[in-house]
Structures are given as structure tokens and as C-alpha cells.
């Protein structure tokens, strides 16, 4: 093998260990959340275990390819992504009114999840190519292509409709652009533009149920029967867990089916109810370690491309963690975003492992630049 020995020496055990710890916690909770007292476990935790193995395999697969090579082929991957999104819109399966799933034999794949790693690579490449260190900040013209690059998958994903995933992509673009640096005037113009566009988005883009959820956040009390129900039940579940929790398999709110979607988007509520604040601190610590570790990787990466890839991954994780937990505790409106590594769902889990694979990839190759030894 023409494998550099330093690659194995620099293997990122921290990321692996942290992600495995979080997934293990998730599987225990899934076991608890989906077990019926009368019927026993539902087997969802085992399915998730299978997905985790698939995720790990893909993570290792992506490690074997230098992120520079990956970025060189980013536009090919991007093309494949667009095709897959179009296919979903044409032939996808409709669940709960959204056409998000592609049925491949026994697998139901949410191709929109793929957009996250692919756009991280595409944007990292674009921003690296079009700026040089320390000099120019981004101008409008520099932003045109990235906006288009994000805009296409964004449009296709909104059409499904899956607004929350699409929004993550926009945040990704914004953060990565900010990391490169925007010219002052550009930044201000963009902000003003944003303020102008918001009311338009409110009326044109958002669906009724989405508007209702946003309003609910501002004023949750009046509509506990409709849009506020999830939020209220979730808060009760979390709060009733107290400091130490009610114990695994003993959560009443989630068990008596007060809490909908408990194993997917509301897994955090199950954690908080059954393992209490202690469990929440544990999970948040694991996430913080993972994110900080990601920041260190970005900070110390060999080149700007690596730094951008790492930043993209960290941003993507942080946004999803914040929005998902935020919605279960009533800080942000109810949106359908999974909690990375925790929520039930194969596509999301495999995608998260892929992104972590990118992160480890950057970290493993930080010493590899022969030309500019650090």
C-alpha cells in the first residue's frame, strides 16, 4: 500500500470514541423509547445499530481518500446529488405529506441528507480557489456562484418539502462565507436585503403549518391543542425528568404516547425524562467535546481547504444540535430536524458519520504537506 505511515499514526481516535459514545447512548434510549410494556422492544434499536455499522464503514471508506482528492471531484458529487434530488421529487415516496424518501429495495433513503457533506466539499473548494489567504474579502461577485450552488439543492429540497434541511444548507453557506470574510459593504447590503426578503419568505415560502409553528414560539400558551401541543408535551416530558430522571423504560410522558415522534426528532426529550439533567449534561458534554475537537482540527489543519471542510462539518453539527434540542425545550419553533448521532433514522446517521469522516480526514492529513512543513 502506498499508504503513508503517518496516516495511521495520526488517526483521530477522539472523534471516533466520542461519536461511538453518543451512538451507544442513542441506542440505549431508542431501546427504551420504543419498547412497549406489553409487547417488549420493537427492534428499532437493532436497526439503528445496523445503520451505525454502515455509517462506520462509510466513514472509514471516506478516510481512505484524501479530502483534496474529494474536493477535486466535488462538482461530480454535486451533479450526482442534484440528480438524486430530482429523482426523489419524481419517484420518491410520500410520508406525512413530504416526498423525501427514495425506495431502494428494503432501504428508504433520504437523499437530501447527502446534500450536507457534498455542499461542504463544494463550498470549501470554491472558497479556497477564489480567495487567497489574508487578502481579499468576498464581494458580491464572489458570492454569486456559491449562492447558485446552494440555491439549486435548496430549491429541490424545499419542494419536497423539507424546509429545515434546506435551511441548514443556507446557514452552512453563510458561516463558510463569513469565515472567509465578507467585505464590509457586502455584509451590510446582505443584512439589509435579508431584512427585506423575510416578509416575502413569510408569505411565499412558508406553509401554513410552518407559520403557525413560528407564531407558537412567540406565544405558546393559546394553542396547546394544535401547533403548540408538541412543544408543550415535550417540555413537560423534559421537565418531569428532573435532576436524576425517572429511569430507563420509566418515562411516562413519552411512554403514554403524549409525545409524538419520540424516537426520531424528540429523542432528546426521552433522554431528559428518563436520565434527567445528569444525562443531558453528559450528552451535551459529549457534543461540546466533539465540536471543540472539530474546531481544533480546523484551527490546526494543513491548509485552508481542510480548515473550511472542518469548519463546515462543525457548523453543520452545531446547527442541527442547537435547532433540534432548542425545539424540544421550546427555544426554537418545531421543525423536523434530527439530532445528529441520536435520532432514529439511517440516512441521517450515515450522513453524520460521513461528515465526521471528513473531519477525521482533515485531521489525519494535517502533517502531510511535504512542501510547506509547519
Amino acid at each position: 500500500m502506498a499508504f503513508d505511515r503517518r496516516l495511521t499514526m495520526n488517526f483521530d481516535w477522539v472523534t471516533l470514541a466520542l461519536s461511538l459514545a453518543i451512538v451507544s447512548l442513542s441506542i440505549v434510549l431508542l431501546y427504551s423509547a420504543t419498547s412497549e410494556r406489553l409487547e417488549g422492544p420493537s427492534g428499532m434499536h437493532l436497526k439503528q445499530l445496523v445503520w451505525a455499522v454502515i455509517g462506520l464503514v462509510s466513514m472509514f471508506a471516506i478516510l481512505c481518500i484524501d479530502y483534496q482528492t474529494l474536493c477535486r471531484h466535488a462538482y461530480v458529487l454535486y451533479g450526482a446529488l442534484l440528480v438524486s434530488l430530482v429523482i426523489v421529487l419524481l419517484f420518491g415516496r410520500v410520508v406525512n405529506g413530504s416526498q423525501r424518501w427514495l425506495v431502494l429495495g428494503p432501504w428508504h433513503v433520504q437523499t437530501s441528507e447527502l446534500a450536507k457533506p457534498v455542499l461542504i466539499l463544494v463550498l470549501a473548494r470554491y472558497f479556497t480557489e477564489h480567495t487567497s489567504a489574508g487578502t481579499a474579502s468576498l464581494t458580491f461577485r464572489d458570492l454569486l456562484l456559491p449562492v447558485l450552488l446552494v440555491g439549486l439543492p435548496f430549491g429541490l429540497i424545499v419542494k419536497q418539502p423539507n424546509l429545515s434541511t434546506a435551511m441548514v444548507l443556507v446557514v452552512l453557506l453563510a458561516v463558510m462565507a463569513l469565515m472567509i470574510g465578507l467585505r464590509g459593504t457586502t455584509l451590510i447590503t446582505l443584512l439589509l436585503l435579508g431584512v427585506g426578503v423575510l416578509p416575502l419568505a413569510w408569505t411565499l415560502v412558508l406553509k401554513d403549518y410552518q407559520r403557525e409553528r413560528l407564531l407558537t414560539l412567540l406565544n405558546p400558551q393559546p394553542d396547546l391543542l394544535g401547533a403548540g401541543y408538541h412543544s408543550w408535551q415535550s417540555k413537560i416530558a423534559i421537565g418531569s425528568g428532573g435532576l436524576w430522571g425517572k429511569g430507563l423504560l420509566a418515562g411516562t410522558q413519552s411512554r403514554l404516547s403524549f409525545l409524538p415522534e419520540r424516537h426520531t426528532d424528540f429523542i432528546f426529550a426521552v433522554l431528559a425524562e428518563e436520565v434527567g439533567f445528569v444525562g443531558v449534561v453528559l450528552l451535551l458534554s459529549l457534543f461540546v467535546c466533539l465540536l471543540v475537537h472539530g474546531f481544533i482540527i480546523a484551527y490546526r489543519s494543513r491548509d485552508r481547504l481542510g480548515a473550511l471542510v472542518a469548519t463546515g462539518v462543525v457548523t453543520m453539527l452545531a446547527v442541527q444540535i442547537f435547532l433540534n434540542i432548542g425545539m424540544t425545550i421550546g427555544l426554537v419553533p418545531i421543525i423536523g430536524l434530527p439530532l445528529p448521532l441520536m435520532s432514529y433514522g439511517g440516512s441521517s446517521l450515515v450522513m453524520t458519520f460521513l461528515c465526521l469522516g471528513l473531519l477525521m480526514n482533515v485531521r489525519m492529513r494535517r502533517f502531510k504537506s511535504g512542501m510547506f512543513p509547519s
Binding site: 502506498a2 484524501d66 483534496q68 474536493c71 477535486r72 479556497t128 487567497s132 489567504a133 489574508g134 458561516v175 463569513l178 469565515m179 472567509i180 470574510g181 400558551q221 393559546p222 394553542d223 396547546l224 391543542l225 403548540g228 417540555k235 413537560i236 416530558a237 423534559i238 421537565g239 418531569s240 425528568g241 428532573g242 404516547s257 431528559a272 434527567g276 439533567f277 443531558v280 449534561v281 451535551l284 465540536l291 471543540v292 474546531f295 480546523a298 484551527y299 490546526r300 489543519s301 494543513r302 491548509d303 485552508r304 481547504l305 480548515a307 469548519t311 452545531a318 442547537f322 434540542i325 425545550i329 427555544l331 492529513r365 502531510k368 504537506s369 511535504g370 512542501m371 510547506f372 509547519s374
Partner: protein
């Protein structure tokens, strides 16, 4: 040049070179500074999450635990007020009254051995086992223990409510029918939802014990009348009493049904039927609207509120005259001579006869080895179509039927709506039977015998019709050939909403028969009533031109001497003839078509022609004899 990928990929090295030319360390301080900023933002975000969770779990933990365990949150439903049913002028036929219901939430009830004695202190004798929820999810849904809970018991309960955990009193609207038996079959009644119905209507939010329409219009228009139940999210304490209402959405009342029915005509029809088993149907021939639909004997739907007592139910269901049976739409009878209208029109339309074809009637008709009798043994002499109808000459129609053949008769019978449900919306309906050679081969496995055609031609034999179908037939003749779908609902009205348009009539079929032939048959029916020798002279009115046709339907094949009218009263009731009389008026521009059908009358239809006259006169003049029951003037104010 560094090589860190496989040597074979040297051609791609230029690209890699480009990236490597933008190294991060140590020159890219701007990037690093911003990285710090991003980290700060992320950490602040996570701190927010942690802080909020701390607030929920530790600061509010006890309160929320309270909510989740002892003080549970309940979604309670507030029932919607059921829509009223009104006649076309706004008289209320089905209304709501307030009543108390003792309710229970099974999950909060005391154990079984305590519950029995507890219920007995409220004079309720009930097996506590029946209150046990069948499914776990149902344990939190309130179920009624007793509806129409007596007032003094309510007072007692209110004073001692601490002793009755898990129970509460609910004010629940119950149905009331101000005119008791009036149009009972049509209106129908409510009953507790069955397990099967609960399964079938899973998404509609019914609870066990809900009262739903179980027959008639109440059943057919359940979704319209019911409205949308409201929801209240309440906090309840450990024994299930409400301590706080957290949120509420009011119920939307159901829509009112305004019927095409004319209350006073309906009342008159039911009074005429008193003492008989039978039915009267009145239609507006211009649009198929049902003006009256009476069936006797009837029942009082108030006896079904909230549920019939065992004795009432037994009496109703074992009564030999089947009072629950809606004779107007579910009773099937041979039409008798009324059917001659169809035979006549079929023969004219198919060119088998002209209005002037003459047939001589000696009082019998020899066909093959059989002799078919005329109802008048002495015969009617030589008659043309008009006299044949006027005197209801059987021999004339035996002859015509034999010329037509059964299948052509069947064709026209179907064109008049026989042999299929009319599609009127008021509930379950029988389809009747129009025999044909094909039908007989299929169902009986036998060929059609030509002799049977003669019976069919005069409305005997296999032919079966419902009074509503017959009414629709005569209405079709009256309006010149348009078969409407009989309608019963004029419109649906919502409180505080503008009154919508009346429902437009639906045309089922348009008869294609030259108008002079339709006129010829109509002339015949005019003579039935107005000719001195007509069989329907009792319907003759001095000012109103009424046209009609009598019919007498044999129930069983009888020996000659028993079949004669004079012998009927000596026969057991179930063998006696049915009597029909159909009529419409005014002759020139008909506005009402009436069918009177009396079961086992033992007399010919001509004896009941007067009933039709009474109805027609009252309706056209809108002057009714003093009603037996005082009219309740709860007219809608709009």
C-alpha cells in the same frame, strides 16, 4: 513537489498544488480569529440549551413532574351542538334539549369492589366491569355512565362530589322530537355508537358512548348534523377533577337540515293513515321534492333518547305490524292496476296500439289453456285506451301486454324508475323488482312463460314496487316525462351564515315518448276521477282538476270466489288485497303528486281516492283542517 497520493496520479498534482498554495498556518490569522468567534457563538448556543434545560428540569422540574404524574393534563372534548332538522317552512322537527350526563374517566375510577356500592348510592345499578376500558389508550377518554341523569341525583352528586372520584357531571344536549311520531321513519333516531362504527370512523374523533344517527336522516346526515367537537386542555388533580383550563377551542355546531317536507301536509297524511298500515307519499312533480313521506304504524323517536328501555325495544321489534319499518321506501308491493299507466305508455310509444285501438272485454281473456279474469265479471264492453284506464279494464291490458311482451314492459318500467332505488337520500331504500325474461333465466333458471306477461301488464306477478317509486312514476307522468331523483333536503343552513341556495333538482331520466301519447294517458287518468264510471270518482273535486288511478294488488293467488271484493273481509288479514291510489293535480299544471298505499285493506284502491283528494285540496289551498296537535311555532327568525 510532494506526493501524498499514489504516484500514478501525477497528472492531477497541479490541482493539489493550487490548494496547497493557500496554507492556513501561520499566515491566515484572519481565518483563525473568525474561527474563535464561531466557537464562541457555538458555545454560547450550547450554554443556552443547557441553561434552558436546567430551568425546565431543575427549577420548574417539580411543577412539570406534577403535571406529568399526579396532575395530569387531559384533552377533553366539548360536544358540538347537533344541527336541527326543520321542515321547509322552518318548523323544527328535531331539536336539542339540555340534559345532565354522569360521566367517568375510567383511569380515575376507584377499584371495582368500591365502585359498585358507590354507584348504588346514586341509584345506578350497573356492573362496574362494563366501565373498564377495553384498550389502554381509552382509559383517559370519558365515558357516559348514565345519560339524562335525574335532577335530584345531580344535586346529590354535586353536594358529595368528593366521594365520587373519576366521575363528573356534563351538560349534554340530547335530541328531542317536538312532534313525537311525526315523520319518525324519515327523521330516524340516535343511538350509542357501536364498536364497529367506532372502528369505521376512527379519524372522526368519536368516543365510546357518543350518540350518533342510527337510522333515517339522522344517520345519513350524521357528518353534517354533528358539527365539529371542541377541545379543552385541562389540568386535573389526582382524582380527576378539573383544576385549571389551560387551553380551549370551542366546538362548531352542526348544520341545520331544512327538509323539503311540508309539516302540515305530513301531519294530515299521518292522520289519514291512522288505523291503517300503509304509507302516503307526496311529491312536487316539478322538481322531485318530497312534500310528505308518511308510514304507519310509527314509533316515537323520543323513546330512543338516550336509549330505548328494554320493554320499549321489545314492543317495537316484536310488533306484528313492524312500526320501525319505513313502508314508504322499504315496503315492496305489487303495484296492481296503477302499473297500467306504464303498460299503456309502453304500448303507445312502441306503436303497438294507438289511443283508438279498441278491445272488447267480455269479462275474461282466454290465453293458451288459461282463462284470465277481469275484475268485473260482466266485462266492460268494447273499450279504447281512455275507457280502459277509466274503468281499469283488465282484459284490455291483458291484450296489450301480450302484444308488447314482458321485455318491452320492463324497459319502460325501468325508464319510470322501477327496479332500482330512487337514490333519495333519506335512508335505506329497497329497489323493488322489474321482471324480464333475462331476470327469470338468471334468478329462477326458467324460461319466461308468455302467460306471465299478462299478469305483469296489470301490475301483478313478480313486479314489486315501493310507494316512493310509484310516487316518482306518477310525478314523471304528471310533468310530461322527466324522472327526478326524489329529494328530501332543501338546503343546509349554518348559524350566522347566509342562507344558501336550495338544492337544484337532479334529473335521472328523460322519457322519450311523443307528447300526444303522454297526453292520452293523462286524459285517461283525468277520466278515472272525473268520469261518472271512473274507478276513482271519490277523488273528484269541484274546483280542482285531479287525475288519478286506482290499484288493487293481490297478495296471494286466491280461488275465484275468495278473490271477489265482497269476500275480502272474511279473509285473514295477511291475505287481503293491498289498495293503491295515485293522483296528481292540478291537471293542467301539476304541483303535487300523491300516492296512498294501504296494506291489506281488503278494499279496492277506489275506496281511498278520497284521501288523495283531501291531501291535494289542503296542499293546493294551503288550508289544513285544525291539526290534531297544536303546532309549535318555533319558527326560525332569520
Amino acid at each position: 513537489m510532494a506526493r501524498y497520493s499514489s504516484p500514478g496520479e501525477s497528472s492531477t498534482c497541479d490541482d493539489e498544488f493550487i490548494y496547497i498554495q493557500r496554507p492556513l498556518p501561520p499566515q491566515d490569522d484572519g481565518f483563525r480569529r473568525r474561527l474563535w468567534g464561531l466557537l464562541t457563538v457555538v458555545l454560547i448556543g450550547l450554554c443556552l440549551l443547557l441553561g434552558r434545560t436546567w430551568q425546565l428540569q431543575v427549577l420548574q422540574g417539580e411543577y412539570l413532574l406534577h403535571l406529568s404524574e399526579q396532575n395530569r393534563l387531559r384533552s377533553l372534548r366539548t360536544k358540538s351542538l347537533r344541527g336541527k332538522i326543520l321542515d321547509r317552512y322552518g318548523y323544527v322537527l328535531a331539536d336539542n334539549r339540555a340534559a345532565y350526563t354522569l360521566m367517568a374517566i375510567p383511569a380515575d375510577l376507584p377499584p371495582r369492589d368500591e365502585l359498585g356500592p358507590l354507584l348504588r348510592t346514586l341509584n345506578i345499578d350497573m356492573d362496574p366491569e362494563t366501565l373498564r376500558p377495553r384498550r389502554r389508550a381509552a382509559a383517559l377518554k370519558p365515558v357516559p355512565i348514565q345519560r339524562d341523569f335525574p335532577r335530584d341525583q345531580v344535586a346529590y352528586f354535586a353536594e358529595h362530589r368528593m366521594d365520587f372520584p373519576g366521575m363528573f357531571i356534563e351538560v349534554e344536549p340530547l335530541r328531542t322530537y317536538p312532534y313525537s311520531t311525526l315523520a319518525a321513519h324519515l327523521l330516524g333516531y340516535l343511538g350509542e355508537i357501536s364498536e364497529v362504527q367506532l372502528q369505521q370512523s376512527k379519524d372522526l374523533g368519536y368516543y365510546p358512548g357518543d350518540l350518533v344517527g342510527q337510522s333515517g336522516l339522522e344517520q345519513v346526515f350524521e357528518d353534517v348534523l354533528r358539527g365539529q367537537p371542541g377541545l379543552r386542555q385541562v389540568e386535573v388533580d389526582a382524582v380527576g377533577r378539573e383544576t385549571q383550563v389551560i387551553a380551549a377551542r370551542p366546538a362548531t355546531p352542526g348544520m341545520d337540515l331544512v327538509l323539503t317536507l311540508d309539516l302540515q301536509l305530513q301531519q294530515l297524511a299521518e292522520r289519514l293513515l291512522e288505523g291503517h298500515s300503509g304509507s302516503i307519499v307526496a311529491l312536487d312533480p316539478r322538481n322531485g321534492q318530497i312534500l310528505a313521506l308518511a308510514s304507519q304504524p310509527a314509533f316515537d323517536p323520543n323513546a330512543f333518547v338516550p336509549r330505548p328501555s328494554a320493554a320499549t325495544w321489545r314492543a317495537l321489534s316484536t310488533d306484528p305490524h313492524f312500526p320501525l319499518h319505513n313502508r314508504a321506501t322499504q315496503g315492496q308491493y305489487p303495484p296492481g292496476s296503477v302499473f297500467k299507466i306504464v303498460t299503456a305508455l309502453a304500448a303507445l310509444a312502441d306503436g303497438v296500439i294507438t289511443p283508438h285501438t279498441t278491445v272488447c272485454c267480455p269479462g275474461y281473456y282466454d290465453y293458451g289453456e288459461h282463462t284470465f279474469r277481469d275484475w268485473r265479471p260482466s266485462g266492460h264492453g268494447c273499450v279504447q285506451l281512455r275507457q280502459a284506464l277509466t274503468q281499469s279494464c283488465d282484459v284490455y291490458f291483458y291484450h296489450v301486454g301480450q302484444l308488447l311482451g314482458v321485455d318491452r314492459i320492463a324497459h319502460y318500467a325501468q325508464a319510470f324508475g322501477f327496479g332500482q332505488p330512487t337514490g333519495f337520500a333519506g335512508g335505506f331504500e329497497k329497489s323493488g323488482l322489474v321482471p324480464s325474461s333475462q331476470w327469470k333465466r338468471r334468478v329462477r333458471g326458467q324460461p319466461w312463460y308468455a302467460g306471465e306477461t299478462l299478469s305483469v301488464a296489470i301490475g301483478q306477478g313478480y313486479t314489486m314496487t315501493t310507494p316512493l317509486q310509484v310516487a316518482n312514476m306518477i310525478a314523471t307522468l304528471a310533468n310530461g316525462g322527466t324522472l327526478y331523483k326524489p329529494s328530501i333536503v332543501l338546503r343546509r343552513e349554518m348559524l350566522h351564515a347566509p342562507t344558501p341556495m336550495d338544492t337544484a333538482p337532479t334529473v335521472l331520466h328523460q322519457l322519450r315518448v311523443p307528447p300526444q301519447y303522454v297526453a292520452a294517458v293523462q286524459q285517461g287518468l283525468w277520466s278515472v276521477v272525473n268520469d261518472p264510471r271512473g274507478t276513482g270518482k271519490l277523488a273528484r273535486h269541484e274546483q280542482i282538476a285531479i287525475a288519478g288511478k286506482t290499484g288493487t294488488a293481490q297478495v296471494v293467488q286466491l280461488p275465484d270466489h275468495d278473490a271477489s271484493p265482497g269476500r275480502q273481509q272474511y279473509l285473514p288479514e295477511q291475505y287481503r288485497h293491498h289498495a293503491w291510489f295515485v293522483a296528481y293535480a292540478p291537471f293542467e299544471a301539476p304541483r303535487i303528486a300523491v300516492v296512498v298505499m294501504i296494506e291489506h285493506a281488503g278494499k279496492g284502491g277506489s275506496q281511498f281516492a278520497g284521501y288523495a283528494k283531501t291531501l291535494i285540496e289542503a296542499y293546493l289551498r294551503q288550508s289544513y283542517p285544525v291539526a290534531a296537535m297544536p303546532l309549535k311555532t318555533t319558527k326560525l327568525t332569520r
